[in-house]
């Protein structure tokens, strides 16, 4: 017993003091999801961030940094314990969280004395009235992608659509966001969280015979949905409009040919001519031997954004007001095109429509179709008093 306790204590303190030794570089706490089926999202995010650091030989914006990565296991409670430890350890700069329920557990502690810069999720609850001075979203506001999907559906000329999402907060926000901009007639279908079989919903889609469907099922459920949509034959007659999180590059590989023809709404165009982007795609593919996903892209961008801000304060993060101003005025070559922060400190970026097609080798790729919106400000910015 005694041995065990002492051992645990020692081990815990060894680890924490190991972290504390690195006094010189700016330490960045990176809490992300590495286990569970969603583990690849965290893996790609981490690798994107690491790539930016490696390209500068351990620095960001010329300032030495050290990245401390930890797995939240998609459990808010676990993320909370990690952030507590990091914050007591004196870390004041955080990023990495993939899921909004994990972010909710982390954000208060992170922004109390430090800064949280979101590389993926931007829930509406923190975008409007509850916006926070030390909370920045370098990726996108969650509702915007669904609003953009609505705009895209209008432009594609769909008059009647069926829209589907799982019945949880993110899913309900998705359908509300879509309806905010879509002008045609909609039928809503809510699915279960982590649903396996979609045959029942697909039969309803068939009987409703819409012009197209919109669906939001991130992760495994999205692959299930797309596979079954294909095998039901619907993909040949009724096109799909999806946010990129329902069909990222890895999901595309897992889904296979039935994904052909899908319309994907996204904040990053992997084929963009932008030189920074070209360099990123090349470097990432060479280093990790796989195609980067949108998660890798946004997190790489987040890292470079942090680098630009660090550079303008000369690596001094001790003065929160100066660092905050540096973040607000940040200028860097985003791989996504023009980048700025809005009033609520959420990214103001361009949105794209891509389509899944087979290239000359028969490999599935996302081909750009059009730009949906330029420098789009999210719907909650006006409510924020910052």
């Amino acid at each position: 017993m005694k041995k065990l306790l002492v051992g645990t204590l020692l081990a815990a303190s060894c680890v924490t003091s190991l972290l504390a030794q690195a006094q010189d570089p700016v330490r960045i706490g990176f809490i992300t999801t590495l286990s569970t089926p969603a583990g690849y999202l965290g893996e790609d995010s981490r690798d994107g961030f690491q790539l930016a650091i490696d390209q500068e030989n351990g620095k960001l914006g010329g300032v030495p940094v050290s990245l401390l990565v930890e797995d939240d296991g998609l459990q808010p409670a676990r993320a909370k314990q990690i952030i507590d430890r990091m914050s007591l350890d004196g870390i004041s700069l955080y990023t990495g969280v993939i899921f909004s329920n994990v972010l909710a557990a982390v954000v208060n502690t992170a922004t109390k004395d430090g800064f949280y810069i979101s590389n993926n999720t931007g829930p509406s609850s923190l975008a409007g009235k509850q916006c926070k001075p030390h909370y920045f979203v370098a990726s996108y506001q969650n509702d915007t992608i669904h609003e953009m999907a609505g705009v895209a559906a209008n432009e594609l000329g769909y008059k009647k659509m069926v829209i589907l999402a799982p019945n949880y907060q993110g899913g309900r926000d998705a359908l509300e966001g879509f309806k905010r901009t879509y002008k045609g007639e909609v039928t809503e279908i809510y699915t279960k969280l982590n649903q396996l079989d979609f045959s029942v919903e697909l039969a309803r889609v068939r009987s409703l015979a819409p012009d197209a469907i919109f669906e939001f099922h991130p992760g495994g459920a999205g692959i299930n949905f797309a596979k079954q949509y294909g095998s039901s034959g619907l993909s040949k007659t009724i096109p799909m409009v999806v946010p990129v999180f329902s069909m990222d590059e890895r999901m595309l590989a897992a889904t296979g040919d039935v994904a052909k023809g899908m319309n994907i709404v996204t904040l990053w165009n992997p084929g963009s001519e932008n030189p920074a982007n070209q360099a990123f795609v090349k470097a990432f593919s060479e280093k990790y031997n796989r195609v980067p996903t949108v998660y890798a892209a946004q997190t790489y961008d987040t890292a470079r954004l942090i680098g630009a801000a660090l550079k303008s304060v000369g690596g001094n993060t001790k003065d929160p007001a100066a660092f905050r101003q540096a973040l607000r005025d940040v200028k860097f070559d985003s791989i996504r095109g023009d980048f700025a922060f809005g009033k609520n400190q959420h990214a103001v970026i361009d949105w794209y429509l891509l389509r899944v097609e087979a290239d000359a080798n028969g490999k599935l790729v996302q081909v750009p179709v059009q730009t949906i919106a330029k420098s789009q400000v999210d719907s909650f910015a006006a409510e924020c008093a910052l």
């Binding site: 029942v200 919903e201 039901s232 034959g233």
Partner: protein, 303 residues
């Protein structure tokens, strides 16, 4: 016609549940083990299938690989771990099999990486059959229903008309009796366990083209599988069939018709949330009701 199609859809989900539940209920009924790792063998099967299919391009070879892979992994786990648990109480079994789940998930992550693999399928797999005039139904799903039905018939024959079946029935009735008959119990147990894993492998193979092949896919379906065997009556294959049909149908038809029904009865903002909650909890509600009325399930093994 739509109702008929939805019934077929419910049947197909029932078939998946039955493939998993029949093995689980046998393992429980005969060895008295609560096996939380049952879903892990289903995952192993699916990964073997997807991996073989993309390597060889052969659909049927993938099926074979899934069954063999699950069976071998099952044999390994049975001989190294499970047989030490048969004499323990349920709590030790729960913790030990949970540990096997943790280990297997991480092992698959290390071996296959974190990306879900694709499962290529042949041309005919994506075609349709006219099951009734005017009702086209995908081959992929019919195949699933057929597999479920075949396994149900095969198990009925096995249990009622073979010596092994006799032992299984005897084992489910009375553990001591089988031992007293001078049967090599250790071998019988290994056989039953591996048989359960073979059914998992089959389920994994059938599911791979329709579902995401991913780490943790076993746990997603495991709890529902437990619900099925408890509803049906623990230890009884007939019960597993009844439970799978009931849960599969309630789930399928519930998803199809509860929202429409509630939309007509209640104001929109209430009905949306309520139907969502009802659908998510439907299997659990059915189980609670069944257990309150018949505490030992619909068709328990011992009358």
């Amino acid at each position: 016609m739509l109702l008929l199609e939805q019934i077929l859809n419910g049947l197909q989900y029932s078939a998946l549940l039955f493939l998993l539940a029949s093995g689980l209920t046998l393992i429980f009924g005969i060895m008295g083990v609560i096996n939380l790792a049952h879903g892990a063998f289903y995952m192993v099967g699916a990964f073997c299938a997807a991996y073989t299919a993309s390597l060889s391009g052969s659909f049927w070879l993938a099926g074979l690989a899934a069954v063999i892979g699950s069976a071998l992994y099952g044999l390994l786990i049975e001989t190294s771990i499970m047989r030490r648990l048969y004499a323990r109480d349920h709590l030790d079994q729960v913790l030990a099999t949970l540990a096997v789940v943790f280990f297997t998930n991480e092992l698959i992550t290390v071996l296959f990486g974190r990306s879900p693999p694709a499962m290529p399928t042949p041309e005919w797999y994506g075609t349709f059959v006219e099951v009734l005039p005017g009702l086209m139904y995908p081959v992929s799903r019919l195949l699933f229903i057929a597999a479920g039905a075949l396994v149900a018939i095969a198990m009925w024959l096995l249990i009622n008309h073979t010596r092994l079946g006799m032992l299984i029935r005897a084992g489910a009735d009375d553990h001591e009796m089988v031992g007293a008959l001078g049967v090599n119990i250790a071998r019988l147990y290994t056989l039953v366990f591996v048989f359960g894993c073979v059914l998992c492998g089959l389920a994994g193979f059938m599911a791979a083209p329709l579902l995401s092949v991913e780490i943790g896919m076993g746990e997603k379906v495991l709890i529902t599988t437990f619900v099925v065997i408890v509803v049906g009556g623990v230890g009884s294959v007939r019960g597993a069939l009844a439970g799978a049909l009931l849960i599969g149908m309630v789930d399928g038809l519930g998803r199809a018709y509860i929202p429409q029904l509630l939309d007509q009865l209640l104001p929109a903002e209430v009905s949306g949330t309520l139907s969502g909650g009802l659908i998510s909890a439907s299997a659990y509600i059915v189980m609670a009701v069944v257990l309150l009325v018949r505490p030992r399930g619909l068709l328990p093994a011992r009358a």
